[in-house]
Amino acid sequence: MTVTLLIQASNGVPSLGLGRGDAIVFDSAEVEALSGSRDYRLMLETGLGTTGADLSDITRIACDIGPGGLGVTRTAAAFANALGFARRIPVLALPAFELLGAEVARDKPVAILRRAARPHVHFGVYANESGRGKLALYEHCTEQSALDQLSDLEDYDLAGNIEVAGHATPVTNKATMTCMLRLALTAPLPGLDARAWPIVEVLE
């Protein structure tokens, strides 16, 4: 059975998962010895070792491309891209806000806010219409502009790492590996030379 390698890092805490078919068989976040690790090789070798899989079983890599932590997202992409290049397998780029939206979405839109260089934030709205979610809006804007736009939304769930006054705290700032695998398996498979390019902030 084919194995999917999943790398998520834009929330600032790198984690690596392995999916066999449509089931997660390894999640580095659940291994105490890998807590806080930024060593992707160690994470991957541990995952392959515990699941009995081989590097050659991996047929697709999915990498979180942010927006979020600049350095940590880029390092994850560098590792994912080079592994894809070396093994001749495609790297599927998954935007973090698609992941967070899919993770949190129930019956309301999901507003997502993540910190960027002040006074900016990353702001997104994930719409969950008829169970088929999509990111309806993404902006790198000032925090005030994001809050102004949010005040126009009737009701929403909140995700990310910024609190909004008068609203419940963000549900989460990280998608589960199960959610990530689902997105990776339902996305169209890109070409063999597809690579992950992080979503970057506009520098002023």
Binding site: Y40, R41, L44, E45, L55, L70, G71, R74, T75, A76, A77, A78, F79, A80, N81, A82, L83, F85, A86, R87, R195, W197, P198, V200, L203
Partner: protein, 330 residues
């Protein structure tokens, strides 16, 4: 030992990849410059540098491997700069090398960039007679060290503030000479006379360097003596730099009694410095080694060359970034 080492250098603003064999023959090299990206900022913008490395690194690896008709099976190891350098830039090179190493089943070594500069002398059948005194003068580094052999180094001194290359660039900007500053100042200096008595910071004190005072002094003179020509100003500045650098080299040769004096780094391109160092070497009857200019600036061939030392000594591969790595740590 046969085979090739794939060298990767991303410590600052150039993405460089090279293939080098044990004898120092460079089978292929490609360096992607970021000069145009950073030019508008008047210096390297770290965030943009690491973004550009991510975009350039794999196409550069692919291109170099294709040019030399090399497959991963031909590689003995991968060598990648782990420091000193900009953390974001180092991380892109290190993470990429780590994944290539895993994907290809080839060991990867984190290499000290400064050791790379020193080993650049050995590229393309260049040789160093040991023991040697080495001076590394560039935009990123200024240091002088004693090399007992190809592996054991003793750092004699380094700069307390600006590197000599940085002060060349800053003075070139003050004089509106454009970038890169070094060659422009050298050209102007050749047409001038060192009429100004600029300071020679720390010339008579040990092996430490300090160039920020010299740069400030040039700024003051430009303000106070608008009548002095750009050529004379440049000549005065270059004379001060040459004086300080040769004084340190002279002291090191007298103390260490080596067989050769090695000058590496981008500033070693300066004809004035080359000429002055030739005289110092002659005075002490030691051989002067000046690597060809293409190996004097940051490049991956020197990193690959240095990697052979790590491989042959059986060092544990260490791919942790070390932005402040010193010369004496492998």
């Amino acid at each position: 030992m046969s085979g090739l080492i794939l060298g990767i250098e991303t410590s600052c603003d150039d993405t460089s990849v090279a293939l080098v064999d044990r004898s120092g023959h460079v089978a292929a090299i490609k360096t992607v410059s970021q000069f145009e990206i950073h030019e508008a900022f008047g210096g390297v913008y770290p965030e943009l540098a690491s973004r550009a490395h991510l975009e350039a690194i794999l196409p550069t690896v692919e291109s170099v491997m294709a040019e030399a008709s090399v497959t991963p099976k031909d590689l003995t190891a991968i060598g990648v700069t782990r420091g000193p350098g900009l953390i974001g830039s180092l991380l892109v090179g290190l993470a990429s090398a780590e994944a290539l190493s895993m994907g290809w089943g080839v060991p990867a070594y984190g290499v000290n960039h400064l050791r790379g500069h020193i080993r650049s002398v050995e590229l393309e059948s260049g040789r160093t007679e040991f023991p040697a005194v080495i001076m590394l003068v560039s935009g990123g580094h200024t240091l002088i060290a004693e090399l007992k052999d190809a592996w054991s180094y003793r750092l004699l001194g380094t700069t307390r503030d600006d590197s000599v290359g940085e002060s060349y660039d800053k003075v070139a900007r003050m004089l509106d000479l454009g970038m890169p500053g070094g060659p422009a100042i050298d050209r102007a200096a050749k047409l001038g006379t060192p009429v100004l008595r600029l300071p020679r910071p720390m010339k008579n004190e040990g092996y430490e360097f300090s160039f920020s005072g010299l740069k400030s002094s040039v700024a003051r003179h430009i303000e106070q003596h608008p009548e002095v020509s750009i050529e004379d100003m440049s000549a005065s500045f270059v004379a001060a730099c040459v004086d300080v650098l040769t004084a340190k080299a002279d002291r090191a040769l007298a103390e260490c009694k080596p067989r050769s004096l090695v000058i590496v780094g981008g500033v070693a391109a300066s004809p004035q410095i080359r000429e002055a160092m030739g005289k110092v070497a002659e005075k002490h009857a030691v051989e002067l080694c000046l690597p060809p200019m293409k190996w004097a600036t940051d490049n991956a061939a020197m990193i690959a060359m240095a990697t052979w030392d790590y491989v042959e000594r059986g060092l544990q591969p260490d791919l942790m970034p070390k932005p402040n790595l010193s010369l004496e740590t492998p």
